[in-house]
């Protein structure tokens, strides 16, 4: 492709460089020589040449567009697939918004610059050098005009960008700051009004606003020098050609017609250098994007499928066992979990409770292999989960995260996200168990009602119920509730737990919770503190034996409700 491109580029450059010859021939032979037929002949040849040049330019545009979009298409796919392979460890080392920018804005940046560079980067040197040579052949005495104007031009561009480019980043930062401050004014509106701080917010905004326009005025004033100075340089150059040309013509070393050709060459050289400086400005921008994308591509996903896979039966029992599990985030010396061992039996509820940073959520994330254990092992029905294909393992797990995350689509598409083959009655049953039927039937189109991106048209509690229904519709053998109940009020919470207990009798339930009332009835409660298990038992047992558990319970329930008098 690139080779073909270069062929066309040289074609276009050839046309651009020879056209002025014909122009001068028309003048020299036709007009000055008073030869009408030579005008026609040269004119027709010129037209043919132009047509050829135009076709070359079209072909260049075609190839450049194909290469740029094709390349970016491939690159984007590669990045997207790479990210989809990421475990949470790699994913969180970038943050979701940063990855999104890399896959969207950075890609677009590269595509635009690439198409432009392909069109200009090859053509410009051909044209620049060619024009200078041509001009030199016609009138060596005039080379200095070209050199002087190009020199002046380059000097100006370099100076402008030396002054202005560092400021662009600052301007961008100020724009970000303006939008951040506006966002703050909006999200904090109650607090701002409650504390009567409108004026303070406004003066903060005003300050940024003022800074932003002052800087913009400065940068624009600098950048706007470009247009008039460029026009000036080109005007002076044309004039110089004629003026100096007068002497050459007078001593017979130049024909009148060649004046026009020379003017053309000067312009073409200037254009060529403009293009080159453009490329020099654009390429570093694209290079920054390229580096950011490369950072994503160069990460090696830490979790991949084993070479020798073990298969689970179609229906499993769902016994989950942690054997001396240690876990620490890569790059961090501190262990988040250490020496964790327990068994979660099918048909039972295993609850996990503990303070922030005690490692509850991390523990749950290890089971579907969102992270892999640092040492020790987790088994499901006795098979190490690292020996199973990730997709197969996850088929048996219903994971409900702390923050319900939904997809744009319909209620139905969200509930059946993990179970494409679920029937309508499966879906309705799941919704009903998740206590979602009531609000869904209140929606205009029930299960076909649309869900906005991130479920923004639903309340927190509604989203959480859908996210639970999504897990239920999958009918997995292992449920992981990562503090999924806290967005629900206590009435719904209780009704939901009751329904869950009736519906799910065989599966393994692992529940991370904040509210003691949510887990009081669990068959087994595991108390985590600082990544270690400090207590295992039922509510009644732990109240007596575990100090940590008792502390937590006391802050939430009164003595009577703790069940001490029972």
């Amino acid at each position: 492709m690139l080779l073909v491109l270069v062929v066309f580029v040289s074609g276009q450059a050839y046309v651009n460089l020879t056209l002025p010859d014909y122009m001068s021939k028309i003048i020299n032979d036709g007009i000055v020589g008073k030869d009408q037929s030579s005008i026609w002949l040269n004119g027709l040849q010129m037209l043919g040449l132009t047509l050829f040049g135009g076709l070359c330019a079209m072909a260049i545009g075609f190839i450049a567009a194909r290469i740029a979009t094709g390349y970016v298409h491939k690159l984007r796919s590669a990045v997207f697939m790479q990210v989809e392979r990421f475990s949470l460890a790699e994913f969180n080392s970038f943050s979701s918004s940063s990855l999104t920018t890399r896959a969207t804005n950075d890609m677009q940046q590269i595509q635009t610059v690439m198409a432009m560079v392909l069109r200009m980067a090859f053509l410009a040197p051909f044209m620049g050098v060619g024009s200078i040579i041509k001009a030199f052949q016609l009138a060596p005495s005039m080379s200095w005009i070209i050199l002087a104007s190009v020199g002046a031009l380059v000097l100006m561009i370099v100076m402008l960008f030396f002054v202005a480019i560092p400021k662009f980043t600052i301007i961008q930062k100020l724009v970000d700051k303006l939008s951040l401050q506006t966002r703050e004014m909006l999200t904090g509106i109650r607090v701002i009004r409650a504390y009567n701080n409108d004026h303070r917010e406004q003066s903060k905004f005003d300050e940024t606003n003022q800074q932003s326009i002052n800087l913009n005025i400065f940068v624009n004033r600098v950048m706007m020098l470009m247009q008039p100075v460029m026009t000036l340089i080109m005007g002076l150059a044309s004039m110089a050609v004629v003026w100096v040309g007068a002497y050459a013509i007078s001593d017979g070393s130049l024909k009148v017609g060649n004046l026009l050709a020379l003017m053309q060459y000067v312009m073409q050289t200037i254009m060529a250098f403009l293009m080159i400086s453009f490329v020099f400005i654009m390429v570093p921008r694209a290079a920054v994007s390229g580096r950011r994308i490369n950072e994503v591509l160069s990460v090696k996903p830490t979790i991949s499928d084993p070479k020798k896979v073990k298969h689970l039966p179609k229906r499993i029992n769902g016994k989950v066992e942690f054997k001396d599990v240690n876990f620490g985030y890569s790059g961090s010396k501190q262990l988040v979990l250490s020496g964790v061992s327990f068994v979660a039996e099918p048909g039972q509820t295993t609850a996990i409770i503990g303070g922030t940073g005690s490692g509850k959520s991390t523990l749950v994330n290890l089971i579907p292999r969102l992270y892999d254990v640092t040492s020790g092992s987790i088994t499901i029905d006795g098979i190490d989960i690292r020996d199973i294909k990730q997709a197969e393992l996850r088929q048996h797990i219903g994971y409900i995260p702390q923050k319900a995350s939904l997809f744009s689509g319909t209620i139905k598409s969200n509930i059946t996200y993990g179970s494409y083959d679920a029937t309508d009655s499966d879906m309705q049953a799941a919704a009903s168990t998740a206590q979602a039927t009531e609000f869904i039937s209140g929606l205009p189109e029930q299960f076909d009602s649309s869900v906005a991106q991130a479920g923004n048209n639903l309340s927190g509690g509604q989203k959480q119920r859908l996210s639970i229904a999504r897990a239920l519709a999958k009918k997995p053998e292992v449920y992981l509730f990562d503090d999924s109940f806290s967005a629900l009020d206590f009435k719904t919470d209780a009704a939901l737990r009751q329904a869950l207990n009736q519906e799910i009798t065989k599966a393994t339930l692992i529940i991370v919770a904040q509210r003691i009332s949510t887990i009081m009835q669990a068959d087994k409660i595991i108390v985590l503190d600082d990544g270690q298990i400090v207590g295992v038992g039922t509510h009644q047992e732990l109240i007596k034996t575990s100090k940590v558990y008792r502390e937590i319970a006391e802050s939430q329930l009164s003595a009577a409700e703790l069940g001490e008098d029972k």
Partner: protein, 609 residues
């Protein structure tokens, strides 16, 4: 050749001029333009200078090829007349020209210099007005509109207005003058050649129109695909854990590939077609060139035209296409400016909170007695949710507001703080109707700790002192200690001077809540509004929050959106809410005894599972 546009502002790519899809159309172009003119009013005089400078610069620029042509004619004259070239005359013309070029460039720059100042000042005015408007709008506006929209007024819309003003305004003037001036010059050289040159115009216009139309279609398709792509990527990345645990990767990739293919096919077509413009224009202008050469040659042979004139004519022809395509683009520029401005003006015209000139002062010492007298309220005028509610709250009582999710517990908060006004009835604080008191003064009476802990970008100390600007460091630390926040603040790298930002999330949700409690403690208002909801707060921090809240509410009239039984049970008055309305009120024991909705709620909490 196409002239490069200056990269002013630096945000719009260098290809910005030629590309672009179907422009957005404003609903009422005329009215919007008139309003823009109002913003421009302070700059009339300067705009006049801009116009004059633009006219001078353009006229000088138009004159120069003709004069340069005279220079060439002078050479020819010398050659033909066998007297040799008159270098004196040439030098004379040369110095003239140099002067002309310089003056033209100076005025052109003067014009940009003035215009950029004007457009930036208008940018400033727009942003200032938007930010003022935000503080004047009633809260109901923000619950019905997305924040992102308003942010986009401040950034994107204002930005596009300022860019267009900056370039568009002067372009209108210069393009028109250039077209007229060049036409006049061309006719003055030779009307025959002018006709030929003009004949080329419609051909090139239709061709360009054809390409623009097609490329616009693909450009729109490309933008649509791009939007879809961004949406998909954002959604998949923000739900990464769910996509993985529900084995959604292959489906996600499949959909990605679909969009990516669409994007690729519309993308290359759009890019190719917009790239066609330049070679096509060049081809057409070369046709014109040959035609002019032929006719001009014939005229020159007959002695009716000098070679310098032909040279000047060709230069004019080359300059002719740019202003024409610019004028063609001006309609689009004006339209997109108007569309952006229209959105901003619509926002600025939104109904504001009622003004409050005849307001009544509150007593200096507030005891904290609150009377709700026959209160009716609805977010939408025809849908009342609180109906004829009355309650009498004595100073320093603790009121618990309970009810299931979505029962409208924050409504009461909104009314007490006058975020919304009542439809009927009144709320009296120490006997004064709050509707007759300035909103600011009402709000000053309350300390507030909400569930969504709002902290702004700034230091921890600044955030705590948000309600009392001139608090000393000593007072801030004292408040933080009372809120149990001092300990964790001291573990942060910069202590009280640690900057809280959106991204650097070293502070947990519970800790943020402690900070807002410290803020309320420092504000030391006679009354309190607390939201106990502590989702995503770990149990130990929760205990700290609880203890801090208890301390804070002691000795103050406090309204607590309660989740904790202990709070509810010890409350002096419980307001039970359901579907927005307050359905029951009384103490815990009274309400249980009445076997109503509260009793039902209470029982459900302890159903045996």
């Amino acid at each position: 050749m196409e002239k490069k546009q200056p990269v002013s502002g630096g945000f719009r790519g260098p290809m910005g001029g030629m590309r672009g899809g179907t422009p957005e159309k404003p609903k009422n172009f005329k009215k919007t333009m008139k309003t823009i003119l109002v913003y421009l009013r302070p700059y009339w005089v300067r705009l006049g200078f801009v116009a004059v400078a633009a006219i001078i610069s353009t006229i000088f620029a138009i004159a120069s090829p003709r004069i340069l042509g005279n220079m060439t004619n002078e050479i020819i004259k010398g050659l033909m007349g066998h007297k040799g070239i008159d270098f004196g005359a040439i030098a004379g013309i040369g110095f003239w020209l140099i002067g002309l070029y310089i003056v033209s460039a100076l005025f052109s720059y003067l014009q940009s210099w003035l215009m950029t100042t004007i457009s930036q000042k208008i940018t400033y005015a727009f942003r200032r007005d938007i930010s003022h408007k935000i503080s004047k709008l009633p809260l109901s506006y923000f619950s019905n509109h997305e924040n992102g929209q308003v942010v986009s007024y401040v950034t994107n819309d204002v930005e596009s207005i300022s860019q267009n003003l900056n370039q568009g305004m002067t372009q209108i003037v210069t393009s028109l003058i250039t077209i007229i001036g060049i036409l006049a010059m061309m006719i003055s050289i030779s009307w025959e050649m002018t006709i030929i040159a003009l004949l080329v115009l419609p051909v090139s216009m239709t061709l360009i129109g054809f390409v623009v139309k097609r490329s616009q279609r693909y450009y729109d398709a490309q933008q649509a695909a791009l939007g879809e792509m961004d949406g998909h990527i954002e959604e998949m990345f923000s739900n990464h854990a769910i996509v993985k645990t529900y084995n959604g990767e292959s489906r996600s990739i499949e959909r990605f590939n679909d969009i990516s293919h669409k994007l690729r096919s519309s993308g290359w077509k759009s890019q190719f077609l917009s790239g066609l413009m330049m070679p096509m224009m060049q081809f057409i202008s070369n046709i014109g060139y040959v035609a002019v050469a032929v006719v001009g040659g014939w005229l020159a042979v007959n002695g009716r035209l000098g070679i310098g004139d032909i040279q000047a004519f060709i230069q004019y022809m080359n300059q002719f296409t740019q202003p024409i395509s610019q004028t063609a683009n001006i309609a689009n520029v004006l339209q997109s400016t108007a569309a952006a401005a229209e959105r901003i003006f619509a926002f600025l015209a939104e109904d504001e909170e009622r003004s409050e000139h005849d307001s009544q002062p509150l007593p200096k010492q507030i005891k904290g007695e609150v009377v709700l007298d026959n209160v009716s309220f609805g977010y939408e005028p025809d849908k009342l949710i609180i109906k004829n509610f009355s309650a009498h709250i004595k100073p320093k009582q603790n009121i618990a507001i309970v009810g299931p999710t979505g029962a409208g517990k924050t409504t009461l908060v909104n009314l007490l703080m006058r975020f919304y006004d009542l439809d009927q009835g009144s709320i009296l604080i120490d006997g004064v109707n709050i509707a007759s008191v300035k909103r600011n003064e009402v709000r000053q009476l309350f300390g507030m700790v909400l569930q969504d802990t709002w902290l702004f970008e700034g230091t921890i100390a600044d955030n705590i002192a948000y309600g009392r600007r001139h608090a000393t460091r000593h007072e801030i630390v004292k408040a933080a200690k009372a809120a149990h926040a001092d300990h964790f603040i001291n573990t942060l790298p910069n202590g009280y001077d640690t900057v809280i930002s959106e991204t650097a999330d070293g502070i947990s949700a519970g800790e943020k809540q402690l900070l807002t409690i410290a803020r309320a403690i420092l504000a030391d208002a006679p009354m309190l509004i607390l939201d106990e909801a502590t989702s995503s707060v770990d149990t130990r921090t929760e205990a700290l929050i609880q203890s801090a809240m208890d301390k804070l509410s002691h000795g103050r009239t406090s309204f607590v959106i309660a989740h904790r039984l202990s709070t509810i049970r010890s409350a002096d008055l419980i307001l039970v809410m359901r579907d927005g309305n307050i359905v029951e009120q009384g103490t815990h024991d009274e309400l249980l005894a009445s076997h109503g909705y509260y009793a039902e709620l209470y029982a459900s909490q302890f159903t045996q599972v």
